[in-house]
């Protein structure tokens, strides 16, 4: 093993900035800011944003230099874009912190958020089963803490615990799957695993390993039937944590598993583009995807809780994203990345609006949004952009993301096989989805405000974050090629 430490450090500068930033936030808080409660949030926020911006700049300019440190990491355009994307999403989520004023330890929250982001960036670049698992666990453990961070709220604690239990079990499955893969191939490097498997051909043991890996994937992406944690966690977690779980975590997970499935397990993909279906991971992913689309969209219909509604919406989007994963090997990862990144932006925005509203009082039921256009036209306008993008209304990014992914799936085999049928099912369910999305907008834009509702004051950082997210959704919807041409 030829260790190139200089190259490794060069490649991992973003992670270094993030970790150093997390430590600085903790130290400054302990020594100085702790005694100034009025500024504690702002100091943590400022330091956290600075370190995120430095890391983001380093990630965006790092360049696709290929395999690093004996193939531990792979820096290709996808990992550059993903690292930049997750850092941007984390920064937007962090900007919601001042409105979550009930969190008593902002510095710890910021530091853990930065650790989680470190996990995401490593997931985006990992090319080794061990690194991937470590990165995943770093991110997951941080997120468990963030989900239960609101100590004053029993729901937050419940969310943290359920997330942890579910995540722990999924991680066990994943680790078992990884160990089987290592046993089958004798290597941890994804590209070498791919070469080995191509020589061996599919075996029953490989199938078991695949399904175990996909359990971990399904958990991370909140796809049915491994989605059960999502509604409870989205409901209970503090808004910035929920935003992070729904956006950056999902993007990083999708990229990690896409890398795992295509370069690593590409020879065991099977086919679902035409009948008869051949065995591999693609039919399993297709099953998960179809179940997610159905359960997510139908489950959302009856929700009266806006956070649970967003969770079911996330499940249905996971179904569409998994379709993109199936197509990514053939048509490139561009549509998948575009969809996942813009979906992350919209959920950060949606949770941002909820978080901003929560500074004035708890927001759970749809009716808590009533009369938002009177209480805060800015929030109502941003919410309209986010929700319409989730629903896939042109010219917003959500429409083009769905369009690009579905088009790439149809390129596989048209309507001749299960993949094409799934696309038709997804498009039909989009019409169902429009109903519950418009329920949100009906409350926000049409219904009259409650009698005791006061105008909402939104912090500056959250305002800027929401405007950036909404502006990006509109801009990327108008110029999707800005993202698609990266790959």
């Amino acid at each position: 093993m030829n260790a190139d430490y200089a190259g490794l450090f060069q490649a991992l500068r973003p992670e270094a900035y993030l970790v150093i930033g997390a430590l600085v936030v903790l130290i400054v808080d302990m020594i100085w800011a702790r005694h100034r409660p009025a500024n504690r949030h702002h100091v943590a926020l400022a330091l956290g944003l600075i370190s995120l911006l430095m890391a983001g700049y380093a990630a965006a300019t790092s360049g696709a230099s290929g395999a690093i440190y004996d193939g531990m990491f792979q820096l290709d355009p996808l990992s550059v874009a993903t690292r930049t994307g997750v850092i941007l999403l984390a920064a937007l989520a962090l900007a919601l912190l001042p409105d979550a004023a009930r969190l008593r330890h902002p510095a710890e929250f910021t530091a853990i958020l930065l650790f989680a982001t470190t996990g995401f960036t490593l997931m985006a670049a990992a090319n080794n089963l061990l690194v991937a698992f470590l990165a995943l666990e770093l991110a997951s453990l941080s997120l468990y803490v963030l989900a239960g961070f609101d100590k004053a709220s029993p729901e937050s604690a419940e969310a943290g615990l359920k997330y942890f239990l579910f995540g722990g079990m999924a991680a066990a499955f994943l680790l078992f799957g990884f160990s089987l893969l290592y046993g089958l191939t004798g290597t941890l490097r994804l590209d070498l695993i791919g070469q080995q498997l191509a020589q061996q051909g599919p075996t029953p043991l490989l199938i078991v390993a695949l399904v175990m890996v996909l359990v971990g994937f399904g958990f991370k992406a909140a796809a049915a039937p491994f989605h059960l944690w999502a509604p409870d966690v989205y409901q209970g977690a503090p808004a910035p944590a929920a935003a992070l779980i729904a956006s950056a975590s999902k993007l990083a997970g999708l990229v990690l598993f896409t890398r795992l499935l295509w370069p690593g397990l590409g020879s065991a993909v099977g086919t679902i583009a035409h009948l008869p279906v051949t065995v591999g991971w693609a039919p399993v992913v297709a099953l998960i995807s179809g179940a997610s689309l159905l359960l997510g969209n139908i489950g959302a219909l009856a929700q009266s809780n806006v956070r649970r509604l967003l969770a079911y919406s996330a499940i249905s989007h996971a179904g569409a994203l998994l379709l993109g994963v199936i197509a990514a090997g053939r048509t490139g990862v561009g549509p998948l990345f575009y969809y996942a990144a813009t979906y992350g932006l919209t959920t950060v925005g949606a949770f941002g609006v909820i978080g901003a509203l929560e500074s004035a009082g708890r927001v759970q039921q749809l009716t808590d949004l009533a009369g938002l256009h009177k209480r805060s036209p800015l929030l109502a306008g941003c919410l309209a952009v986010f929700v319409l993008s989730l629903a896939g209304i042109p010219p917003l990014a959500g429409f083009f993301g769905k369009f690009a992914v579905f088009a790439s799936v149809l390129q596989l085999g048209g309507l001749a096989g299960p993949a094409g049928w799934l696309v038709i099912c997804a498009i039909a369910l989009s019409a169902v989805a429009l109903y519950y999305y418009l329920l949100i907008l009906k409350q926000a834009l049409v219904a009259a405000p409650a009698d005791n509702a006061a105008p909402v004051r939104v912090s500056l950082s959250a305002t800027i974050a929401l405007l950036i997210a909404a502006g990006l959704i509109v801009a990327l919807g108008l110029w999707p090629s800005a993202v698609l041409e990266l790959f």
């Binding site: 239990l165 579910f166 499955f173 599919p202 399904v211 059960l228 489950g299």
Partner: protein, 680 residues
């Protein structure tokens, strides 16, 4: 160093001249009602800019007077061909442009004083700028189509401005009358344009040998139609219809006197100096087309002969009616009709340069007279009846002096005043016309009448004693109103020397000659002597009748009416043209309108109601269908979806053990499916 000041405007940039007032009109339209200073300032600034540009264009045009500088461009593609428009710069365009911009500028300035108290002040300047833009566009057009577009736009601006005080029923009616009457002429004009486009395939005036005014195209029109006329004669006469309407020629002159219901600056600018002269300009512009049939011997009539006759009739008739009018603006309006008749007469007898010369001088002195009248009206609290004025000479010295200059220019007082020279040029051309002498006699008779009615006007308004309280309280107006009068008076004197027979510079430049060939004034001066005598006769008769013993009271009888009561009564009622039209064309069209209304109410409306009923019925049926069948099915489907969802939500109990069991179950299930699938 000196060259910098001699720069000129090239034809490519000619569009700037109409664009400036158009921008001012846009500013005027967009400013709120309170933005009075902004709208007026923009209009005046833009006009001053357009004036400077026009002067530069004149420099450019005079550098090569014989050339028709053109700049043609494709407007849009139409099938295989392109519809092309163009700009044209020649001395005719340039002289007209300088005149229009200069007179407009002075009248804009005058208007700031005259319209000071009007609530719609900014709108007035917006409309004025729109008019100026359209008028200038008309002048620079190198395409009959572009000219027609601008022609209609000046008609629109004229409509808007005549009806500016639309709350007065008379003004609204006059605006409508002007618009509809000129439309009758424009119908002929449009037919002529379509005919030309059909036969020539282009409407560009000059296009490097292919334009409709160039000899190759004119030769196409020499063939005879079944009715015996040459094609060019028929097209020329159709185009002349437009000029008849716009320039108030007999028999469509009836709108012009009524147009005096508009504000006086509008009367001065549009209905005396510029727009009404557009018909004359059009005839001068298409003169090669009008004269194309001159060489044909076997045709019943030449186009120009018709033009000359119409012009002569109009000149005489306008002057006759003017003698018997009592409203100061109506007198001037009929005098405008008469003078436009002179110009048409000049074109008809073959001297379009004389017509343009008279157009230019007339624009200045008639604008002067109208603004003078406006000054009188403004001072006398909107009293317009000359019998109820009087004695204004000592009270309004500047107005009187300038008005007198304008009056003498119009009457054609010899040598010093521009009107004399331009009218002499027309009479001279009429004298040399070898088809008939009648136009000459009509013109000479009109000379006497013009001197007579103008003397009457001045004597009644300015001399004698004030006959009403309004006239008694009159006083001189502000410099914004008198300064344009003085400038126009200067022009009314000086402009005549551009075209005297001894040095006909203007005519030579218009014809494209760089040499000026004059001759002694005494050479062939018999006609001039006759007309001088006739002017003296008219002035003397007017003074004898109205000046020597001024009217004592407003109600005193008119001395001329006392001598020939029936003639004057007939003239005062404008020879009954309005009544004639009301009884014939008006009644016919109102009868047709009644018929159409009958059809509309009972026939078409019934059919529409029937169809609407059918539509309603089918709508009813399909709504029932929709609600009972389709919609109910959709509702039940939606309801069952929601029920599924509720049931599913209940299944999600929140029990963590259940979650983990589901996870494990899901894993096993997937494994079984895949392995079974693999075994198959």
């Amino acid at each position: 160093m000196f060259r910098v000041f001699l720069m000129s405007l090239s034809v490519q940039n000619l569009w700037l001249i109409p664009a400036l007032p158009l921008a001012a009109a846009a500013i005027g339209a967009l400013t709120p009602r309170t933005g009075r200073a902004l709208a007026a300032g923009a209009a005046i600034t833009a006009m001053a800019g357009a004036f400077i540009l026009s002067c530069l264009a004149l420099v450019g045009a005079l550098a090569e007077p014989a050339a028709h500088q053109v700049f043609n461009f494709a407007w849009f593609d139409l099938g295989h061909g392109a519809l092309r428009l163009g700009l044209l710069l020649d001395p005719l365009t340039a002289f007209m442009g300088v005149m229009v911009t200069f007179v407009s500028l002075l009248i804009f300035i005058f208007s700031t004083g005259y319209m000071k108290d009007d609530a719609n002040y900014k709108q007035f300047f917006c409309f004025l700028s729109l008019f100026a833009s359209a008028m200038l566009g008309l002048l620079v057009a190198n395409s009959l189509l572009l000219l027609f577009v601008c022609w209609e736009l000046v008609g629109l601006a004229s409509y808007l401005l005549i009806g500016f005080w639309f709350h007065k029923p008379a003004a609204a009616a006059a605006a409508k009358k002007a618009f509809i009457t000129t439309r009758i002429g424009d119908l002929g004009f449009l037919l002529g344009i379509l005919w030309l486009q059909d036969t020539q395939g282009t409407l560009l005036f000059y296009d490097g040998g292919h334009g409709i005014l160039e000899s190759a195209a004119l030769a196409n029109l020499a063939h005879l139609l079944p009715c015996g006329l040459a094609a060019s004669t028929a097209i020329g006469l159709l185009i002349f219809c437009g000029a008849i309407g716009k320039s108030g020629q007999f028999p469509l002159h009836v709108w012009l006197p009524d147009a005096m219901e508009g504000p006086t600056p509008v009367s001065a600018l549009i209905h005396a100096a510029t727009m009404v002269a557009a018909g004359v300009f059009l005839m001068a512009r298409v003169y090669p087309l009008m004269a194309a049939d001159q060489g044909l011997a076997n045709v019943p009539v030449h186009a120009l002969t018709v033009v000359a006759c119409i012009g002569a009739i109009t000149a005489l008739m306008g002057a006759l009616i003017a003698v018997a009018q009592n409203d100061i603006k109506r007198i001037l309006a009929f005098s405008t009709v008469s003078q436009l008749g002179y110009m048409m007469l000049a074109i008809g007898v073959g001297s379009w340069t004389a017509a343009i010369f008279h157009l230019l001088t007339h624009a200045f002195f008639k604008a002067l007279l109208f603004l003078g009248a406006g000054s009188v009206i403004h001072a006398a609290h909107h009293e317009q009846d000359i019998r109820r004025l009087g004695g204004l000479r000592p009270k309004m010295k500047v107005t009187f002096a300038t008005f007198a200059i304008g009056m003498m220019a119009l009457a054609g007082v010899p040598f010093l005043f521009s009107g004399f020279w331009s009218k002499e040029a027309i009479l001279h051309a009429a004298h040399e016309w070898n088809v008939s002498s009648l136009p000459l006699y009509a013109g000479l008779a009109a000379v006497v009448l013009t001197a007579l009615y103008m003397t009457r006007l001045v004597a009644e308004v300015f001399f004698g004693a004030a006959r009403t309280a309004e006239a008694d309280h009159a006083h001189e107006n502000s410099p914004a109103m008198t300064m344009p009068l003085v400038l126009l008076a200067l022009c009314a004197v000086l402009l005549g020397f551009l075209g005297t027979p001894a040095f006909p510079w203007l005519q030579a430049r218009l014809l494209g000659d760089s040499e000026v060939h004059g001759h002694s004034l005494l050479e062939g001066s018999g006609l001039m002597r006759v007309s001088i005598v006739l002017v003296a006769l008219g002035l003397g008769a007017g003074w004898a009748l109205y000046g020597r013993r001024p009217r004592a009271r407003a109600e005193s009888p008119d001395p001329l009416a006392a001598r020939a009561p029936r003639l004057i009564a007939a003239l005062a009622s404008r020879l009954g043209f309005d009544e004639l039209y009301a009884a014939t064309v008006g009644r016919l069209s109102s009868g047709f309108a009644t018929f159409c209304a009958f059809l509309e109410i009972y026939v078409w409306d019934g059919a529409v109601r029937f169809l609407a009923g059918l539509g309603e019925l089918s709508g009813l049926v399909s709504r029932e269908n929709d609600e009972q069948g389709f919609n109910a099915g959709f509702n039940s489907a939606s309801e069952s979806l929601r029920k599924t969802s509720t049931a599913y939500s209940k299944a999600q109990s929140g029990d963590a053990h259940g979650y983990l069991r589901t996870l494990a179950l899901g894993f096993v299930l997937l494994l079984i499916i895949v392995i079974l699938g693999g075994a198959r």
